[in-house]
Structures are given as structure tokens and as C-alpha cells.
Symmetry: C2
Subunit: 205 residues, 2 copies
Amino acid sequence: MAEKGMVIVVSAPSGTGKGAIIEKLIDNDPNIRHSVSATTRKPRKGEKEGVSYFFKTRGEFEAMIKDGALVEWDEYCGNYYGTPRDYIEKTMQEGLDVVLDITVAGAVDIKEGCPGAVMIFVLPPSLAELEKRIKSRGTEDEEAIRKRLEYSYSELRHVNKYDYIVVNDDLDTAVLEVETIISAERMKYTRNPSILDNLYKGELK
Amino acid sequence: MAEKGMVIVVSAPSGTGKGAIIEKLIDNDPNIRHSVSATTRKPRKGEKEGVSYFFKTRGEFEAMIKDGALVEWDEYCGNYYGTPRDYIEKTMQEGLDVVLDITVAGAVDIKEGCPGAVMIFVLPPSLAELEKRIKSRGTEDEEAIRKRLEYSYSELRHVNKYDYIVVNDDLDTAVLEVETIISAERMKYTRNPSILDNLYKGELK
């Protein structure tokens, strides 16, 4: 069901396991694609243009902002990240859903520019668990950890800008919950405006 | 999840198998209750006051309409049917969901009086199948069948007043789809407004 693809926004405070949820979501459903962001960050080893990111200079990125070519953008750790409008529109026209893995600031813009977007916020099961997960990465010094925690706490406050909440206690359960939300959204009348015409013409599938 | 119960409206043209879907839904989930309607129809054998229906005289029913004691009501085959407001509010306060099996006309009223209601419309897989199901009941003469079909067709046109569409081709699939919608709705932020307070206080379940 659903006549056209939809935009699915998954946001979460740093350390909530959002990346793992999105990865499983895409593995499980061939109808869901990861959005490819534009960024001014330098490519890392193995990253491919147009697959990992669309790599841009600051000048190119700022021109995209000015031209309205991004449905959302944000600056994070000194680099721009944004979602190119033409990429997501093309993917949706093909009947595919696009999942956007973006910051809370970016997500708020999506809601304005893309009113049909499904907005999902992933919460940790507890603040203690959030702290534990951030610390267990073990790659950062105390100052960086403290900053990351503060940033996570500030992001939590924006949960009220989202449509749905998923608590990531167990990864598989969280993935199933996101899948449940997507399945329900595909049954929305607004995503199937030709359903009655289709019924008059023949079989519904 | 969901801090309070919700109202679930399931409507469908006559002959779509709505009754069977609702029955399974309630059997499968102890958190979902059937609403008890008020009616001026005479009790049939085995029907119990307050369980099958709240049986009312026309005068009593009309007083309920006047007092705003019904969230919706409609007249069907010469009898009044309506949903008592106090019954559904009490059930929702207990954290239970209430499923309303009502006509399209009644459902439109619910949407106005109860903005959080989840509105589900069940469609037949084809018009040929709808006709077949209505005829196969075999309990009515041709004139009654024709009237029932006409009524079904007129109800179909109101699908755009609903949030979700479920196609009842296979009963178990249709039940699962309604359950998916309900699960997703329970994850809505608006149904869990204290989630952040709960996270600050301790564990989320």
C-alpha cells in the first residue's frame, strides 16, 4: 500500500543507538532507502561520492542553501550536513521510502518543508543507560564525553516535535516498533488518495 | 505505552466483515474493550442490559441527545443507536482502549467530539466481492439486498474522513493490520506526554 514513498525521520540523542536501528530497518525492507546527505566534511577512506555522501565545498554547500536545494541542513563539529531535495523527491517518486538520520535541529526543518514526513524520536531506556553507552565507546576523553552528554540532554527536550517515540532498550524490539510505525503510516488514507478509484476499477491489493 | 486509553473507530460498508475483525481484535488484546452502545431497539433473546446494549426508550434516548450524553448517535432501520460519553471516558481513564463499531455518519461526529480517536475504514477487496458477501447471507429478499448494496456504496464515499484504510481480503491479515495501526498509535508522542518526565525519574518501560 501507499501510492508514493514517504520520508521517515529518525532522530535520537547521541548514544541512543539510532544508527543500528536504521541499518537494520534498511536491511529488512527493500522498500526503504537511506538518504544520501550532502556534506562539507572530507571523505574518509572507503567513502564514495553519491553513496556515502555528496561531498561539497563550503561554497557549493552555501549555494545549495541559498537555492533552497536542501530540505534541511545543520552545522555539526564545524562541518555542514544537509539533505538534498532532488534526491529524496526522486526516490519517493519511485515508490520508495527515504529514511533520514538527522539532528534534531534538522528534523524540525523537515517537518516544515515536508509535512507528510513521519517523525520518530528514539529515547534511551534511562539516563544512566545513555551515559553508560556514551562512555563505553571509549574513544573520547572526559571533556568530549561531557560535551556529548550535554548535547544529548539538550536534544531530549525536543521530543515533543516528533510524531512517535520509540524506546531503545532492546535493539530488535526497537526496530520492530519503527517497522510497525512505518506499516501503519502506509495505511493512512492521505497516502492512498486513489484507493476508491482503484476499488471501482477492480481489485485492491 | 500510552498513558491513557484511546477511542478506536472501525467503520465499514455493510458486508465488509467489520464485525469479525472487531471480535478478533478484542479476543487478542485484553487492553481493548468493545464500547457498549445505547439503543432504542428491543432486546433480542440473550442480550443483556449494560453488556450488549444500554436499552432505552425513545424518550430516554432523545433526552441523552439533548444533554450531550452521547458522543455520536444515528438512526438506522427506525431505531436510534448511540455511544454514551461517560462509558467511553470511564474506560479510557482505566487505561483501556475502546473500539466503536459505528456507522459512517456516527464516525464523523466522533472525529469532531473526540479528536484523538483513531479512525479506521475497512474496505472490501472488490465491489464484486462485496456484492457476493451481502448476497451470501441469504437471509434477505432481493429488495433488501439491493437497498443494502446501495447503502454500502454510499458509505464507501466517506473513506476520506478516516485516518487509515484496511482492506479485508483475508480476515487474519486485516486483523493484524488493525493491530499494527493501534500499536503505532500507542507510540504517538501526544499519547505519552509525560515520557520525558518519566525518563528523568527512572526507567522507561
